[in-house]
Symmetry: C2
Subunit: 247 residues, 2 copies
DNA sequence: ACTTTTTCTTACCCGTGGGTAACATATCGG
DNA sequence: CCGATATGTTACCCACGGGTAAGAAAAAGT
Protein backbone atom coordinates (compact mmCIF):
# COMPACT_ATOMS: atom_id res chain seq x y z
CA UNK A 1 0.00 0.00 0.00
CA UNK A 2 2.55 2.52 1.09
CA UNK A 3 5.48 1.82 -1.09
CA UNK A 4 8.34 3.41 0.72
CA UNK A 5 9.42 6.47 -1.17
CA UNK A 6 13.02 6.57 -2.20
CA UNK A 7 14.20 8.25 0.93
CA UNK A 8 17.83 7.45 1.74
CA UNK A 9 17.94 6.03 5.26
CA UNK A 10 20.90 8.18 5.98
CA UNK A 11 18.69 11.20 6.07
CA UNK A 12 17.12 12.27 9.31
CA UNK A 13 13.65 10.91 9.78
CA UNK A 14 12.34 14.42 9.63
CA UNK A 15 12.40 14.47 5.87
CA UNK A 16 9.78 16.91 4.81
CA UNK A 17 8.94 14.91 1.71
CA UNK A 18 7.14 12.12 3.39
CA UNK A 19 4.42 14.21 4.97
CA UNK A 20 4.17 16.23 1.84
CA UNK A 21 3.70 13.21 -0.34
CA UNK A 22 1.29 11.52 1.95
CA UNK A 23 -0.69 14.66 2.20
CA UNK A 24 -0.92 15.08 -1.47
CA UNK A 25 -1.95 11.50 -1.80
CA UNK A 26 -4.65 11.87 0.77
CA UNK A 27 -5.93 14.83 -1.12
CA UNK A 28 -5.98 12.98 -4.41
CA UNK A 29 -7.79 10.12 -2.80
CA UNK A 30 -10.46 12.42 -1.54
CA UNK A 31 -10.73 14.05 -4.89
CA UNK A 32 -11.25 10.73 -6.51
CA UNK A 33 -13.79 9.75 -3.91
CA UNK A 34 -15.78 12.78 -4.91
CA UNK A 35 -15.63 11.70 -8.53
CA UNK A 36 -16.75 8.20 -7.72
CA UNK A 37 -19.71 9.45 -5.73
CA UNK A 38 -20.55 12.03 -8.36
CA UNK A 39 -20.38 9.76 -11.37
CA UNK A 40 -22.64 7.28 -9.68
CA UNK A 41 -25.22 9.91 -8.86
CA UNK A 42 -24.98 11.51 -12.27
CA UNK A 43 -25.60 8.22 -14.01
CA UNK A 44 -28.34 7.26 -11.62
CA UNK A 45 -30.36 10.44 -11.66
CA UNK A 46 -28.94 12.56 -14.43
CA UNK A 47 -26.61 15.49 -14.07
CA UNK A 48 -29.25 18.17 -13.74
CA UNK A 49 -31.22 16.37 -11.10
CA UNK A 50 -28.23 15.82 -8.85
CA UNK A 51 -27.44 18.65 -6.48
CA UNK A 52 -24.03 19.29 -5.03
CA UNK A 53 -25.64 18.89 -1.63
CA UNK A 54 -26.50 15.33 -2.53
CA UNK A 55 -22.99 14.59 -3.68
CA UNK A 56 -21.58 16.06 -0.49
CA UNK A 57 -24.10 14.28 1.67
CA UNK A 58 -23.10 10.94 0.27
CA UNK A 59 -19.54 11.70 1.31
CA UNK A 60 -20.53 12.90 4.76
CA UNK A 61 -19.40 16.41 4.11
CA UNK A 62 -21.15 19.61 3.10
CA UNK A 63 -21.38 21.31 -0.23
CA UNK A 64 -18.76 24.05 0.16
CA UNK A 65 -16.18 21.42 1.07
CA UNK A 66 -16.38 20.23 -2.50
CA UNK A 67 -15.03 23.53 -3.64
CA UNK A 68 -11.69 22.64 -2.09
CA UNK A 69 -11.25 20.11 -4.85
CA UNK A 70 -13.21 21.45 -7.81
CA UNK A 71 -14.07 24.82 -9.19
CA UNK A 72 -17.68 23.96 -9.72
CA UNK A 73 -20.23 21.37 -10.67
CA UNK A 74 -19.34 21.35 -14.33
CA UNK A 75 -15.72 20.65 -13.53
CA UNK A 76 -16.73 17.60 -11.56
CA UNK A 77 -18.64 16.43 -14.58
CA UNK A 78 -15.67 17.01 -16.80
CA UNK A 79 -13.30 15.14 -14.52
CA UNK A 80 -15.65 12.18 -14.49
CA UNK A 81 -15.71 12.28 -18.23
CA UNK A 82 -11.92 12.51 -18.35
CA UNK A 83 -11.54 9.43 -16.20
CA UNK A 84 -13.43 7.49 -18.81
CA UNK A 85 -11.46 9.02 -21.63
CA UNK A 86 -8.20 8.05 -19.98
CA UNK A 87 -9.37 4.48 -19.71
CA UNK A 88 -10.10 4.37 -23.41
CA UNK A 89 -6.82 6.02 -24.22
CA UNK A 90 -4.86 3.45 -22.30
CA UNK A 91 -6.71 0.69 -24.09
CA UNK A 92 -5.86 2.20 -27.43
CA UNK A 93 -2.24 2.70 -26.50
CA UNK A 94 -2.04 -0.91 -25.45
CA UNK A 95 -3.50 -2.15 -28.70
CA UNK A 96 -1.35 0.12 -30.80
CA UNK A 97 1.66 -1.23 -29.01
CA UNK A 98 0.82 -4.80 -29.99
CA UNK A 99 0.71 -6.25 -33.45
CA UNK A 100 -1.90 -8.02 -35.49
CA UNK A 101 -4.01 -7.36 -38.51
CA UNK A 102 -6.46 -4.51 -38.72
CA UNK A 103 -9.23 -6.93 -37.93
CA UNK A 104 -7.39 -8.27 -34.91
CA UNK A 105 -6.86 -4.79 -33.57
CA UNK A 106 -10.44 -3.88 -34.21
CA UNK A 107 -11.59 -6.92 -32.30
CA UNK A 108 -9.38 -6.08 -29.37
CA UNK A 109 -10.75 -2.60 -29.32
CA UNK A 110 -14.33 -3.76 -29.53
CA UNK A 111 -13.80 -6.19 -26.70
CA UNK A 112 -12.15 -3.72 -24.38
CA UNK A 113 -14.51 -0.91 -25.25
CA UNK A 114 -17.56 -3.05 -24.62
CA UNK A 115 -16.27 -3.96 -21.19
CA UNK A 116 -15.55 -0.32 -20.49
CA UNK A 117 -19.10 0.67 -21.26
CA UNK A 118 -20.18 -1.46 -18.35
CA UNK A 119 -18.23 0.68 -15.90
CA UNK A 120 -19.31 3.96 -14.39
CA UNK A 121 -16.59 6.10 -15.84
CA UNK A 122 -16.86 4.34 -19.15
CA UNK A 123 -20.58 4.92 -19.37
CA UNK A 124 -20.10 8.55 -18.48
CA UNK A 125 -18.36 8.93 -21.83
CA UNK A 126 -21.61 8.44 -23.64
CA UNK A 127 -24.24 9.42 -21.14
CA UNK A 128 -23.05 12.86 -20.20
CA UNK A 129 -23.99 15.83 -22.28
CA UNK A 130 -20.96 17.76 -23.42
CA UNK A 131 -23.08 20.88 -23.57
CA UNK A 132 -23.03 20.92 -19.79
CA UNK A 133 -19.32 21.65 -19.89
CA UNK A 134 -17.58 24.94 -20.35
CA UNK A 135 -16.65 25.61 -23.91
CA UNK A 136 -13.03 25.00 -23.09
CA UNK A 137 -13.62 21.61 -21.53
CA UNK A 138 -16.13 20.67 -24.17
CA UNK A 139 -13.47 21.28 -26.79
CA UNK A 140 -11.13 18.90 -25.00
CA UNK A 141 -13.84 16.29 -24.80
CA UNK A 142 -14.75 16.64 -28.45
CA UNK A 143 -11.13 16.21 -29.41
CA UNK A 144 -10.96 13.05 -27.33
CA UNK A 145 -14.07 11.64 -28.93
CA UNK A 146 -12.71 12.42 -32.31
CA UNK A 147 -9.50 10.56 -31.59
CA UNK A 148 -11.44 7.52 -30.47
CA UNK A 149 -13.59 7.58 -33.56
CA UNK A 150 -10.52 8.00 -35.72
CA UNK A 151 -9.01 4.94 -34.10
CA UNK A 152 -11.97 2.81 -35.06
CA UNK A 153 -11.76 4.05 -38.61
CA UNK A 154 -8.02 3.56 -38.73
CA UNK A 155 -8.23 -0.05 -37.66
CA UNK A 156 -10.94 -0.69 -40.21
CA UNK A 157 -9.03 1.02 -42.95
CA UNK A 158 -5.91 -0.91 -41.99
CA UNK A 159 -7.95 -4.08 -42.13
CA UNK A 160 -9.18 -3.41 -45.62
CA UNK A 161 -5.62 -2.58 -46.61
CA UNK A 162 -4.11 -5.76 -45.19
CA UNK A 163 -6.94 -7.89 -46.45
CA UNK A 164 -8.38 -8.93 -43.13
CA UNK A 165 -11.48 -6.81 -43.61
CA UNK A 166 -13.65 -6.67 -46.66
CA UNK A 167 -13.87 -3.41 -48.54
CA UNK A 168 -16.32 -1.08 -46.90
CA UNK A 169 -16.77 2.52 -45.96
CA UNK A 170 -14.69 2.92 -42.79
CA UNK A 171 -16.68 5.91 -41.68
CA UNK A 172 -20.04 4.23 -41.67
CA UNK A 173 -18.70 0.93 -40.44
CA UNK A 174 -17.08 2.72 -37.53
CA UNK A 175 -20.31 4.55 -36.79
CA UNK A 176 -22.22 1.31 -36.72
CA UNK A 177 -19.77 -0.48 -34.47
CA UNK A 178 -19.16 2.42 -32.14
CA UNK A 179 -22.88 3.05 -31.95
CA UNK A 180 -23.67 -0.47 -30.88
CA UNK A 181 -20.90 -0.27 -28.30
CA UNK A 182 -21.84 3.13 -26.99
CA UNK A 183 -25.38 2.02 -26.55
CA UNK A 184 -24.24 -0.53 -24.04
CA UNK A 185 -23.65 2.36 -21.72
CA UNK A 186 -27.33 3.12 -21.90
CA UNK A 187 -28.85 -0.26 -21.32
CA UNK A 188 -26.33 -2.15 -19.24
CA UNK A 189 -27.39 -2.73 -15.65
CA UNK A 190 -25.22 -4.17 -12.99
CA UNK A 191 -28.09 -6.25 -11.73
CA UNK A 192 -29.06 -7.49 -15.16
CA UNK A 193 -28.72 -10.92 -16.60
CA UNK A 194 -25.73 -10.22 -18.77
CA UNK A 195 -22.24 -9.96 -17.41
CA UNK A 196 -19.79 -7.50 -18.89
CA UNK A 197 -17.57 -10.27 -20.20
CA UNK A 198 -20.49 -12.01 -21.86
CA UNK A 199 -21.43 -8.79 -23.55
CA UNK A 200 -17.88 -8.07 -24.61
CA UNK A 201 -17.39 -11.55 -26.03
CA UNK A 202 -20.62 -11.59 -27.93
CA UNK A 203 -20.25 -8.09 -29.32
CA UNK A 204 -16.73 -8.85 -30.46
CA UNK A 205 -18.11 -11.59 -32.61
CA UNK A 206 -21.32 -9.97 -33.70
CA UNK A 207 -19.92 -6.63 -34.70
CA UNK A 208 -17.04 -7.96 -36.74
CA UNK A 209 -18.39 -11.10 -38.34
CA UNK A 210 -19.88 -9.11 -41.15
CA UNK A 211 -16.59 -7.45 -41.91
CA UNK A 212 -14.16 -10.31 -41.89
CA UNK A 213 -12.93 -11.57 -45.20
CA UNK A 214 -12.43 -15.09 -44.07
CA UNK A 215 -15.92 -16.49 -43.92
CA UNK A 216 -17.43 -17.60 -40.74
CA UNK A 217 -15.37 -19.83 -38.59
CA UNK A 218 -14.32 -19.87 -35.04
CA UNK A 219 -12.24 -16.89 -34.45
CA UNK A 220 -9.68 -18.24 -32.14
CA UNK A 221 -7.31 -16.19 -30.12
CA UNK A 222 -4.81 -16.59 -32.83
CA UNK A 223 -5.75 -14.77 -35.94
CA UNK A 224 -4.27 -16.58 -38.90
CA UNK A 225 -1.14 -14.82 -39.88
CA UNK A 226 -1.59 -15.14 -43.60
CA UNK A 227 -5.13 -14.56 -44.60
CA UNK A 228 -5.46 -15.31 -48.23
CA UNK A 229 -6.75 -12.32 -49.97
CA UNK A 230 -9.71 -13.19 -52.00
CA UNK A 231 -9.52 -9.79 -53.44
CA UNK A 232 -6.18 -9.92 -55.08
CA UNK A 233 -6.52 -6.61 -56.81
CA UNK A 234 -4.99 -3.51 -55.45
CA UNK A 235 -7.11 -3.36 -52.38
CA UNK A 236 -5.33 -0.35 -51.17
CA UNK A 237 -6.65 1.48 -54.14
CA UNK A 238 -10.10 1.37 -52.67
CA UNK A 239 -8.91 3.07 -49.62
CA UNK A 240 -10.75 6.28 -49.34
CA UNK A 241 -9.39 9.23 -47.60
CA UNK A 242 -10.60 8.64 -44.12
CA UNK A 243 -8.22 10.71 -42.18
CA UNK A 244 -9.51 13.97 -43.36
CA UNK A 245 -11.85 15.09 -40.69
CA UNK A 246 -13.77 17.80 -42.35
CA UNK A 247 -14.57 19.45 -39.12
CA UNK B 1 -51.31 31.02 -41.73
CA UNK B 2 -55.08 30.70 -41.65
CA UNK B 3 -55.76 28.35 -44.45
CA UNK B 4 -59.35 28.80 -45.41
CA UNK B 5 -61.35 25.91 -44.01
CA UNK B 6 -62.53 23.51 -46.65
CA UNK B 7 -66.10 24.63 -46.62
CA UNK B 8 -68.07 23.35 -49.59
CA UNK B 9 -69.96 26.29 -50.98
CA UNK B 10 -72.96 24.08 -51.62
CA UNK B 11 -73.61 23.57 -47.95
CA UNK B 12 -75.57 26.09 -46.02
CA UNK B 13 -73.20 28.36 -44.21
CA UNK B 14 -75.02 27.74 -40.97
CA UNK B 15 -73.75 24.23 -40.41
CA UNK B 16 -72.46 24.10 -36.86
CA UNK B 17 -69.99 21.34 -37.62
CA UNK B 18 -67.67 23.11 -39.89
CA UNK B 19 -66.74 25.95 -37.59
CA UNK B 20 -66.34 23.52 -34.77
CA UNK B 21 -64.13 21.27 -36.79
CA UNK B 22 -62.07 24.04 -38.23
CA UNK B 23 -61.58 25.49 -34.82
CA UNK B 24 -60.46 22.25 -33.39
CA UNK B 25 -58.13 21.78 -36.29
CA UNK B 26 -56.66 25.18 -35.90
CA UNK B 27 -56.01 24.35 -32.29
CA UNK B 28 -54.34 21.08 -33.16
CA UNK B 29 -52.19 22.79 -35.70
CA UNK B 30 -51.01 25.26 -33.15
CA UNK B 31 -50.36 22.51 -30.70
CA UNK B 32 -48.25 20.73 -33.21
CA UNK B 33 -46.41 23.91 -34.06
CA UNK B 34 -45.44 24.13 -30.43
CA UNK B 35 -44.12 20.60 -30.56
CA UNK B 36 -42.11 21.23 -33.67
CA UNK B 37 -40.53 24.31 -32.18
CA UNK B 38 -39.92 22.56 -28.89
CA UNK B 39 -38.38 19.41 -30.27
CA UNK B 40 -35.99 21.43 -32.34
CA UNK B 41 -34.86 23.49 -29.39
CA UNK B 42 -34.65 20.50 -27.11
CA UNK B 43 -32.42 18.65 -29.54
CA UNK B 44 -30.34 21.69 -30.24
CA UNK B 45 -29.68 22.83 -26.71
CA UNK B 46 -30.87 20.08 -24.45
CA UNK B 47 -34.10 19.98 -22.51
CA UNK B 48 -32.79 21.61 -19.36
CA UNK B 49 -31.19 24.49 -21.15
CA UNK B 50 -34.30 25.41 -23.06
CA UNK B 51 -36.71 27.73 -21.30
CA UNK B 52 -40.38 27.94 -22.05
CA UNK B 53 -39.82 31.57 -22.82
CA UNK B 54 -37.53 30.56 -25.65
CA UNK B 55 -40.05 28.12 -27.03
CA UNK B 56 -42.75 30.75 -26.87
CA UNK B 57 -40.55 33.41 -28.36
CA UNK B 58 -39.83 31.30 -31.38
CA UNK B 59 -43.56 31.06 -31.95
CA UNK B 60 -44.13 34.76 -31.44
CA UNK B 61 -46.19 34.26 -28.35
CA UNK B 62 -45.48 34.42 -24.64
CA UNK B 63 -44.88 31.68 -22.16
CA UNK B 64 -48.28 31.51 -20.47
CA UNK B 65 -49.92 31.02 -23.84
CA UNK B 66 -48.25 27.63 -23.99
CA UNK B 67 -50.29 26.56 -21.02
CA UNK B 68 -53.38 26.67 -23.17
CA UNK B 69 -52.06 23.62 -24.94
CA UNK B 70 -49.92 21.79 -22.41
CA UNK B 71 -49.97 21.29 -18.68
CA UNK B 72 -46.28 22.01 -18.33
CA UNK B 73 -42.83 21.66 -19.76
CA UNK B 74 -42.55 17.96 -19.10
CA UNK B 75 -45.77 17.30 -20.98
CA UNK B 76 -44.36 19.05 -24.02
CA UNK B 77 -41.35 16.78 -23.78
CA UNK B 78 -43.56 13.75 -23.53
CA UNK B 79 -45.65 14.73 -26.51
CA UNK B 80 -42.52 15.17 -28.60
CA UNK B 81 -41.40 11.76 -27.54
CA UNK B 82 -44.82 10.33 -28.38
CA UNK B 83 -44.69 11.74 -31.87
CA UNK B 84 -41.55 9.73 -32.45
CA UNK B 85 -43.03 6.64 -30.89
CA UNK B 86 -46.06 6.85 -33.15
CA UNK B 87 -43.82 7.02 -36.19
CA UNK B 88 -42.06 3.85 -35.13
CA UNK B 89 -45.33 2.17 -34.35
CA UNK B 90 -46.71 2.88 -37.77
CA UNK B 91 -43.55 1.51 -39.34
CA UNK B 92 -43.88 -1.67 -37.36
CA UNK B 93 -47.54 -2.02 -38.16
CA UNK B 94 -46.74 -1.62 -41.83
CA UNK B 95 -44.04 -4.28 -41.73
CA UNK B 96 -46.14 -6.66 -39.71
CA UNK B 97 -48.87 -6.29 -42.31
CA UNK B 98 -46.57 -7.36 -45.12
CA UNK B 99 -44.93 -10.70 -45.60
CA UNK B 100 -41.40 -11.90 -45.95
CA UNK B 101 -38.87 -13.84 -43.99
CA UNK B 102 -37.64 -12.80 -40.59
CA UNK B 103 -34.55 -11.40 -42.22
CA UNK B 104 -36.57 -9.44 -44.74
CA UNK B 105 -38.70 -7.93 -42.02
CA UNK B 106 -35.65 -7.11 -39.97
CA UNK B 107 -34.10 -5.35 -42.93
CA UNK B 108 -37.21 -3.33 -43.52
CA UNK B 109 -37.25 -2.32 -39.90
CA UNK B 110 -33.59 -1.38 -39.88
CA UNK B 111 -34.02 0.68 -43.00
CA UNK B 112 -37.06 2.58 -41.79
CA UNK B 113 -35.71 3.02 -38.28
CA UNK B 114 -32.42 4.40 -39.53
CA UNK B 115 -34.23 6.96 -41.62
CA UNK B 116 -36.38 7.86 -38.63
CA UNK B 117 -33.36 8.56 -36.49
CA UNK B 118 -32.48 11.34 -38.89
CA UNK B 119 -35.71 13.19 -38.11
CA UNK B 120 -36.37 15.44 -35.16
CA UNK B 121 -39.13 13.41 -33.60
CA UNK B 122 -37.28 10.21 -34.29
CA UNK B 123 -34.12 11.43 -32.63
CA UNK B 124 -36.11 12.59 -29.65
CA UNK B 125 -36.81 8.94 -28.95
CA UNK B 126 -33.21 8.36 -28.01
CA UNK B 127 -31.97 11.75 -26.97
CA UNK B 128 -34.53 12.68 -24.40
CA UNK B 129 -34.15 11.52 -20.86
CA UNK B 130 -37.18 9.64 -19.65
CA UNK B 131 -36.38 10.70 -16.13
CA UNK B 132 -37.54 14.17 -17.05
CA UNK B 133 -41.06 12.86 -17.43
CA UNK B 134 -43.64 12.29 -14.77
CA UNK B 135 -43.67 8.75 -13.51
CA UNK B 136 -46.91 8.11 -15.32
CA UNK B 137 -45.63 9.30 -18.68
CA UNK B 138 -42.29 7.63 -18.17
CA UNK B 139 -44.09 4.33 -17.70
CA UNK B 140 -45.85 4.81 -21.02
CA UNK B 141 -42.57 5.60 -22.70
CA UNK B 142 -40.84 2.60 -21.19
CA UNK B 143 -43.62 0.36 -22.40
CA UNK B 144 -43.25 1.77 -25.87
CA UNK B 145 -39.52 1.22 -25.90
CA UNK B 146 -40.03 -2.29 -24.71
CA UNK B 147 -42.42 -3.03 -27.54
CA UNK B 148 -39.94 -1.73 -30.07
CA UNK B 149 -37.14 -3.81 -28.63
CA UNK B 150 -39.39 -6.83 -28.58
CA UNK B 151 -40.11 -6.32 -32.25
CA UNK B 152 -36.44 -6.43 -33.13
CA UNK B 153 -36.05 -9.63 -31.16
CA UNK B 154 -39.17 -11.14 -32.67
CA UNK B 155 -37.99 -10.57 -36.20
CA UNK B 156 -34.61 -12.04 -35.38
CA UNK B 157 -36.14 -15.03 -33.67
CA UNK B 158 -38.49 -15.51 -36.60
CA UNK B 159 -35.49 -15.36 -38.90
CA UNK B 160 -33.64 -18.07 -37.07
CA UNK B 161 -36.81 -20.14 -37.09
CA UNK B 162 -37.42 -19.79 -40.82
CA UNK B 163 -33.77 -20.23 -41.67
CA UNK B 164 -33.10 -16.79 -43.03
CA UNK B 165 -30.95 -15.84 -40.05
CA UNK B 166 -28.16 -17.85 -38.54
CA UNK B 167 -28.59 -19.06 -34.99
CA UNK B 168 -27.73 -16.35 -32.50
CA UNK B 169 -28.90 -14.82 -29.29
CA UNK B 170 -31.82 -12.60 -30.32
CA UNK B 171 -31.45 -10.46 -27.26
CA UNK B 172 -27.85 -9.46 -27.83
CA UNK B 173 -28.23 -9.26 -31.57
CA UNK B 174 -31.16 -6.91 -31.11
CA UNK B 175 -29.16 -4.81 -28.69
CA UNK B 176 -26.32 -4.51 -31.13
CA UNK B 177 -28.51 -3.56 -34.06
CA UNK B 178 -30.78 -1.22 -32.13
CA UNK B 179 -27.75 0.36 -30.52
CA UNK B 180 -26.10 1.14 -33.80
CA UNK B 181 -29.37 2.57 -35.08
CA UNK B 182 -30.15 4.60 -32.00
CA UNK B 183 -26.72 6.10 -32.11
CA UNK B 184 -27.57 7.66 -35.43
CA UNK B 185 -29.81 10.00 -33.53
CA UNK B 186 -26.75 11.24 -31.70
CA UNK B 187 -24.37 11.87 -34.55
CA UNK B 188 -26.53 12.62 -37.54
CA UNK B 189 -26.44 16.23 -38.66
CA UNK B 190 -28.62 17.71 -41.33
CA UNK B 191 -25.68 19.61 -42.71
CA UNK B 192 -23.37 16.62 -42.67
CA UNK B 193 -22.03 14.68 -45.60
CA UNK B 194 -24.32 11.72 -45.28
CA UNK B 195 -27.90 11.78 -46.40
CA UNK B 196 -30.53 9.85 -44.46
CA UNK B 197 -31.12 7.47 -47.33
CA UNK B 198 -27.43 6.72 -47.68
CA UNK B 199 -27.25 5.96 -43.99
CA UNK B 200 -30.34 3.82 -44.09
CA UNK B 201 -29.12 1.85 -47.09
CA UNK B 202 -25.68 1.27 -45.70
CA UNK B 203 -26.86 0.31 -42.23
CA UNK B 204 -29.38 -2.09 -43.65
CA UNK B 205 -26.53 -3.97 -45.26
CA UNK B 206 -23.96 -3.60 -42.56
CA UNK B 207 -26.13 -4.55 -39.63
CA UNK B 208 -27.60 -7.65 -41.19
CA UNK B 209 -24.85 -9.07 -43.30
CA UNK B 210 -23.38 -10.88 -40.34
CA UNK B 211 -26.68 -12.53 -39.56
CA UNK B 212 -27.84 -13.73 -42.93
CA UNK B 213 -27.51 -17.40 -43.73
CA UNK B 214 -27.17 -16.87 -47.43
CA UNK B 215 -23.74 -15.45 -47.79
CA UNK B 216 -23.00 -12.11 -49.18
CA UNK B 217 -24.70 -10.98 -52.27
CA UNK B 218 -26.35 -7.89 -53.41
CA UNK B 219 -29.52 -7.52 -51.51
CA UNK B 220 -31.70 -6.14 -54.17
CA UNK B 221 -33.34 -2.84 -53.73
CA UNK B 222 -36.68 -3.98 -52.65
CA UNK B 223 -36.64 -1.35 -50.02
CA UNK B 224 -40.15 -0.51 -48.98
CA UNK B 225 -41.83 2.35 -50.67
CA UNK B 226 -40.61 4.84 -48.21
CA UNK B 227 -40.80 8.28 -49.70
CA UNK B 228 -37.16 8.55 -50.47
CA UNK B 229 -35.64 11.85 -51.04
CA UNK B 230 -34.85 12.33 -54.65
CA UNK B 231 -31.25 12.74 -53.75
CA UNK B 232 -30.05 10.02 -56.00
CA UNK B 233 -26.60 11.39 -56.45
CA UNK B 234 -24.73 8.18 -56.34
CA UNK B 235 -21.48 9.41 -54.93
CA UNK B 236 -20.89 9.40 -51.28
CA UNK B 237 -20.11 13.02 -51.60
CA UNK B 238 -23.75 13.77 -51.29
CA UNK B 239 -23.96 17.47 -51.35
CA UNK B 240 -25.16 19.16 -48.31
CA UNK B 241 -28.46 19.32 -49.96
CA UNK B 242 -30.96 19.91 -47.26
CA UNK B 243 -34.22 21.09 -48.45
CA UNK B 244 -36.93 23.14 -46.89
CA UNK B 245 -35.92 24.59 -43.64
CA UNK B 246 -39.10 24.45 -41.70
CA UNK B 247 -37.61 27.15 -39.56
C1' DA C 1 2.81 26.41 22.74
C1' DC C 2 2.29 29.32 18.70
C1' DT C 3 1.52 30.32 14.25
C1' DT C 4 0.30 29.00 9.60
C1' DT C 5 -2.04 26.36 6.31
C1' DT C 6 -5.47 23.31 4.98
C1' DT C 7 -9.98 21.63 5.44
C1' DC C 8 -14.68 21.99 6.44
C1' DT C 9 -19.14 24.25 8.33
C1' DT C 10 -22.78 27.60 9.05
C1' DA C 11 -25.24 31.11 7.00
C1' DC C 12 -26.31 33.62 3.25
C1' DC C 13 -26.86 35.58 -1.64
C1' DC C 14 -29.26 35.68 -5.91
C1' DG C 15 -30.10 34.41 -10.78
C1' DT C 16 -32.97 31.41 -12.95
C1' DG C 17 -37.08 29.65 -14.77
C1' DG C 18 -41.44 26.95 -14.17
C1' DG C 19 -45.78 28.04 -12.93
C1' DT C 20 -49.96 31.19 -11.68
C1' DA C 21 -53.29 35.17 -11.15
C1' DA C 22 -55.56 38.77 -13.03
C1' DC C 23 -56.69 41.12 -16.80
C1' DA C 24 -57.30 42.13 -22.13
C1' DT C 25 -58.87 40.68 -26.59
C1' DA C 26 -60.41 37.94 -30.32
C1' DT C 27 -63.91 34.64 -31.86
C1' DC C 28 -68.27 32.60 -32.06
C1' DG C 29 -73.07 31.30 -31.49
C1' DG C 30 -77.32 33.46 -31.48
C1' DC D 1 -74.95 43.76 -30.78
C1' DC D 2 -74.21 40.51 -26.77
C1' DG D 3 -72.79 37.29 -23.46
C1' DA D 4 -69.82 33.02 -23.41
C1' DT D 5 -65.67 30.81 -24.55
C1' DA D 6 -61.13 30.53 -26.01
C1' DT D 7 -56.82 32.62 -26.41
C1' DG D 8 -53.30 35.59 -25.26
C1' DT D 9 -50.68 39.30 -22.31
C1' DT D 10 -48.49 41.63 -18.32
C1' DA D 11 -46.91 41.15 -13.92
C1' DC D 12 -45.78 38.45 -10.31
C1' DC D 13 -44.52 34.47 -7.08
C1' DC D 14 -41.16 31.46 -5.16
C1' DA D 15 -38.64 27.03 -4.84
C1' DC D 16 -34.47 25.52 -6.18
C1' DG D 17 -29.69 25.13 -6.31
C1' DG D 18 -25.02 26.84 -7.63
C1' DG D 19 -21.90 29.64 -5.66
C1' DT D 20 -19.60 32.68 -1.87
C1' DA D 21 -18.13 34.90 2.67
C1' DA D 22 -16.57 34.43 7.15
C1' DG D 23 -14.95 31.88 10.46
C1' DA D 24 -14.35 27.30 13.27
C1' DA D 25 -11.68 23.11 13.55
C1' DA D 26 -8.07 20.16 12.50
C1' DA D 27 -3.23 19.31 10.79
C1' DA D 28 1.25 20.63 9.85
C1' DG D 29 5.21 23.27 10.56
C1' DT D 30 8.52 25.55 13.87
Amino acid sequence: MDSAPPVPPSLPSSSPWLPFESRRRARDEKREAVLRAAVQLFLEQGYHRVTLNEVAERLNITKPALYNYFRGKDEILFECWSMGAELVDSVITEINGGGGSGLAKLRKLVHAYAALMATDFGASLVRFDLRDLTERNAAVARASKKRIDATFRRYIAAGTADGSIRPCDPKLAAFAIAGALNWIGHWYRRDGELSPSEIADEFTVRLTEGLATESRQQMTKKTPGAPQRRNSGRTTAGKKRTGGGTR
